[in-house]
């Protein structure tokens, strides 16, 4: 099975995250880059599927040079090879454009299954799986917390606000995963060494068949108009419990008419 796992490098949520004042885009230099957390679950799920059903796992990343660090980690976890879609023309692309660019890149890799994290910790749009399924015309098996494959039939459990839906489809398909679908493995020393020899293909937009007029900040369908640091919350009242802490909270809640 040809499994492509989409990996996004995002700023570490533990380091200060900023937008750039010149074009209102993410300041990728300001923070350490890490693999988007839910993408680690996607990588793990792709590896588990490969281990159970055979095939090959390809990592596909769109991002600047720095994103190569995340590719190496995914390869160290056990992915077989990688494609790095990298072009200055892609900078500032919004979700609609990103889904187009990835659709084009998937044209070069082919796929039976595309696996990705349901949401990134930076933009948090949660739309990419749906957009890709729409563009590719394949089943959208998103927000999955369980995946079962038998031949070309695939069943997932889709997390919903009220519980879950049991969903069935036929491959090829796009699967997005939520936390707790599995326990992502740590790269072993052997894995880290092996990763250095695994092939990483770099694609620019021409090689991926991406039309430059459909990507990049200037052509985006959305624009960030302005931004500012949120006003700090006024310093609240903090008391040390002297046996009446609960009563004090109750008084506070009553003063705010919550009780």
């Amino acid at each position: 099975m040809n499994i492509v796992v989409l990996v996004k490098q995002v700023p570490d949520t533990e380091s200060p995250r900023k937008l750039k004042s010149d074009d209102n885009t993410l300041d990728r230099a300001a923070a350490d880059g890490v693999i988007n957390e839910l993408d680690e679950y996607a990588i793990e799920e792709a590896l588990l599927i490969k281990e159970a059903h055979g095939g090959e796992v390809t990592v596909l990343t769109m991002g600047p040079d720095k994103a190569a660090e995340s590719i190496r980690k995914a390869l160290a976890m056990g992915a077989d090879k990688a494609v790095h879609l990298k072009d200055d023309a892609l900078a500032g692309s919004d979700s609609l454009q990103t889904s187009y660019a990835i659709q084009q890149a998937l044209g070069t890799t082919g796929f039976d299954l595309v696996v990705l994290g349901a949401e990134s910790t930076d933009a948090r749009t949660g739309v990419l799986a749906a957009m890709l399924a729409e563009r590719l015309g394949v089943p959208q098996l998103s927000l999955a917390n369980k995946v079962e494959i038998d031949g070309t039939s695939i069943k997932v459990q889709r997390q919903t606000d009220y519980g879950h839906d049991k969903v069935e489809a036929t491959l090829p398909a796009v699967v997005s995963v939520v936390e707790k679908i599995n326990e992502p493995r740590y790269p072993s020393f052997k894995g880290i060494m092996a990763a250095k020899k695994k092939p990483v293909e770099t694609l620019d937009i021409a090689a991926a068949g991406i039309d430059a007029a459909q990507v990049g900040l200037a052509n985006a369908a959305t624009e960030v108009v302005d931004f500012a640091e949120a006003p700090p919350r006024a310093q609240g009242q903090i008391v040390t419990d002297e046996g009446d802490g609960g009563a004090k909270v109750a008084e506070f809640l009553a003063s705010k008419k919550f009780v």
Binding site: T13, G245, K248
Partner: protein, 315 residues
């Protein structure tokens, strides 16, 4: 006035509060038209009228039998035939996915997890765990905006909506992912986490699954939903579906009470836009105290039960 489409979020006819919020917002920006997909419409129509739906478009029940795509197809049909000024959906997991597919179908820009929308469809976001407020707008097509639940105060504005049945032909691709069973988990009497006006959450300090009954009792005394930090769900003390934070649910209630939660960025990203924040924690240096309107440094096992009792006395 320009027509604004609002996709109704409901579970088998029980309309979610966020829909009423969207109707209120839509009537502020133009004229709200509700779009209904799925079972239970007859029981829900009065609610939509009460909150100001000027029109209701009703799609075939079959559209709810497949994952997301048919709902986007119906909205795309309406975007084409009615030329609305914007489309509003709830910024839930599914709502955002519908917005994404609709954006591709109509070549429109999509803005997700919006906390307010001003004239000209300028959308406000609270990003990076609430640290930055940004504004964005759509430059191409019809603005498609997914609004975070609890961001807008719903206002009753009784209307007499005209109903229109809308047919849409589904492609094979739209029917690719079939929902064979819908499993509704028992949530008891407590409100939905993302919709609740009050949320009481427990974290690492709670110490065990059994101890979560202290959190539940406090929540019940306030009619609140129960949440949990990642430390608590990772430890298996409370189900993962109740996790508040970066990789869990984002909540924005009137009152958020954090019990035994230190307030790491992972958690703050999910609750920082709450209107009033109260924390109980034994560590005076815990970052959660930077956010609070009222905080108590002390033992949660003393303070939380006392608070529950005091609230009971005041009823």
């Amino acid at each position: 006035m320009a027509e604004i489409l609002v996709l109704v979020d409901h579970v088998d006819g029980e309309v979610k509060k966020v829909t009423l919020e969207l109707l209120t917002l839509a009537n502020r920006l133009g004229e709200a038209s509700a779009v209904w997909v799925g079972a239970g419409y007859d029981g829900a129509k009065d609610k939509l009228a009460e909150y100001g739906a000027q029109k209701v478009y009703v799609g075939d029940e079959e559209l709810a039998s497949y994952v997301v795509a048919p709902k986007a197809a119906l909205l795309a049909e309406l975007v084409g035939s009615k030329s609305p000024a914007a489309v509003l959906v709830a910024a839930t997991g599914e709502g955002k996915e519908i917005a994404g597919r609709l954006a591709v179908k109509t070549g429109s820009g999509v803005l997700t997890d919006v906390v307010d929308v001003a004239d000209g469809f300028v959308a406000e976001h609270s990003i990076f765990g609430g640290g930055i407020i940004s504004h964005a707008k759509v430059k191409a097509g019809t603005p498609i905006i997914a609004v975070r639940p609890n961001s807008i105060a719903p206002e009753a504005a009784p209307a007499t909506p005209a109903e229109e049945q809308v047919a849409v032909t589904l492609s094979d691709a739209d029917k690719g992912a079939k929902i064979v069973e819908k499993v509704v988990e028992e949530k008891g009497e407590r409100p939905d986490l993302t919709e609740a006006s009050i949320v009481v959450s427990g974290g690492r300090g709670v110490g065990s699954g059994d101890n979560f009954k202290i959190i539940e009792e406090l929540a019940d005394s306030l009619g609140a939903a129960v949440g949990a930090s990642r430390a608590a769900t990772d430890a298996g003390w409370y189900p993962h579906s109740f996790q508040v934070g970066q990789t869990g649910k984002t909540v924005s209630p009137q009152l958020y009470i954090a019990v035994g939660i230190s307030g790491a960025i992972q958690h703050r990203a999910g609750m920082q836009t709450s209107k009033t924040i109260v924390a109980i924690n034994k560590d005076a240096e815990a970052p959660i105290f930077e956010l609070v309107d009222f905080g108590v440094v002390g033992d949660l096992f003393q303070i939380a039960p006392q608070l529950t009792e005091e609230i009971g006395k005041r009823k």
